[in-house]
Symmetry: C2
Subunit: 307 residues, 2 copies
């Protein structure tokens, strides 16, 4: 019953063919990922940017550009606005960062006319397939929202639910994490975790089961949960979503896993009209391809919900 | 050049024979660790607690009590005070928690007459041997100080230095961690990391090299540091000490490593007159034994410094 990225790729192929709009596409690492995504049948791409440079890089990485739409726009800001507009208008199903700095990329995402705003705050979700864990783990937010308020955390959970659903988890268990599993007024994070839990019980956060505060062992390790006698908890080592107290905790755990464990992972930005792929230069090739696959199933899920 | 717990155990054997005073020793898991520590030549033990119960448990776990000093004291508080006094007076080299709650155990550690106060705040350090990393990593503080101030962080570093030295790291590289590696006034953690770095440069934190803020990849992964072009940093993937922003970040990373990676680890409390072993019931047998070995080399180092 192991669930992993192979299942996500299999799901992509059940969906209608997806297309990613690439913002300032003249980036070698991004083009390699796009090429691989097309080769594996995950997604087609529309490449927006400097056509000459795109063709030059494509030649270097042995990428056949037949079948790719290329929109020539040498100005980076204009290229990002043209690319995001494709997603805005439904001509592309997801939007991906190329050779443009994050700040200007996000400006295009948030552009009032051609961007992907939904009125919700954006958040980041990273999906992990970890050896020894028989399901996908959804870590959030490890990269975008720095110090989430209680309200932010509700939005983060809501943003993550379609990602879970797209990956086949229809009623995810959400663990607001802390160093401890009991409420301690001296640790505000535990108080907020408790509030989220109660709000979920009251039906205010539908579509999931929230149980916190939880320490990481109780969230992911059923043996540890049993050992600690956590038999009254709604989550006993079987959490799907790991909700982090802040960006430092989230990012440090994310990087510990990436650098110490042989994992597969993919990340997207959500809270947007379509999934946004914002890979970093330190991400591996495989992570970039996985992120496109993840975005593709999430795009399908969003369409299904909207339609 | 791989450094690990085998080296620590080898070091213990070069030191003079060490003795651990066990507080309320009638605990099966603790006695098993004590038995193993003796069998491996790591440490002898003085068992303080209910003698009848100690003998009963020893029989169950096939532990020969010959050669152990047993001090009969059925009252838990009194037993903890008698046990800590042994360490206070130098009759034992380290102090270990048995079947007593953490709160009362710490009360004995902090007792003004027979305890182990040094005037410094206590902090926790966890030593990890991680596959793929060729040196020991010292994580602090993942369990004790909740929200360390700048001053606390200086004490945490100072408390950790003898632990590093005891493990053969004479000039440790200390990485104050954050989600990012640049100072951002909106992230106070990064500002404090920068202050610690400057204080170290000014000679105010001697005996180590501090460089922060650092993201975890730059702290532990030389390839990532190279890839990100961090060639001007004092730490380029070769940090020894990982200093966490707060207990949530520290504890979540600690548990991620313990539950996802095949590691060896041992933990102690420092800032005390002698090392204090405060293992938790969720620690494995091996972790408990490693913690005793770690405490033994740290006890030797402290004695050398005092003498």
């Amino acid at each position: 019953m192991k669930q992993g990225f192979d299942d996500i790729v299999a799901k992509v192929k059940e969906c209608g063919r997806k297309t990613v709009a690439v913002s300032v596409a003249q980036d070698s690492a991004v083009l390699e990922a796009v090429k691989e995504a097309k080769a594996r049948g995950i997604a087609d791409a529309i490449l927006v940017g400097d056509e000459g440079k795109i063709r030059e890089i494509a030649a270097q990485i042995d990428m056949d550009l037949t079948g790719y739409e290329i929109i020539h726009e040498p100005d980076m800001i204009q290229a990002s606005l043209k690319a995001v507009k494709l997603a805005h208008e439904g001509k592309a199903d997801m939007y991906m960062k190329g050779l443009i700095d994050t700040k200007n990329f996000l400006k295009s995402v948030l552009d009032k006319e051609v961007g992907l705003r939904t009125g919700k705050p954006l958040s980041h979700v990273c999906v992990f397939e970890i050896p020894g864990i028989d399901r996908l783990l959804f870590l959030t937010d490890v990269a975008f929202i720095t110090y989430p308020t209680l309200e932010d955390k509700i939005h983060i959970i809501e943003n993550t639910l379609p990602v879970c659903k797209a990956c086949g988890v229809s009623l995810p268990k959400v663990a607001p994490l802390a160093a401890v599993e009991v409420v301690n007024p001296k640790m505000p994070v535990t108080v907020e975790a408790d509030e989220l839990t109660k709000m979920c019980e009251e039906g205010k956060i539908p579509g999931c089961i929230v149980d916190g505060p939880l320490s990481l062992d109780l969230a992911i390790d059923a043996e540890a949960a049993k050992h600690k006698g956590a038999t009254d908890r709604k989550i006993q080592g079987d959490a799907d979503v790991l909700l982090f107290p802040d960006i430092h905790a989230g990012n440090l755990v994310y990087k510990a896993i990436v650098h110490m464990v042989k994992v597969k992972n993919g990340c997207i930005l959500t809270g947007t009209k379509v999934p946004v792929i914002l890979t970093s230069r330190s991400d591996t090739f495989e992570t970039k391809v996985n992120s496109i696959a993840l975005a593709a199933v999430v795009a399908e899920e969003m369409k299904r919900n909207a339609g």
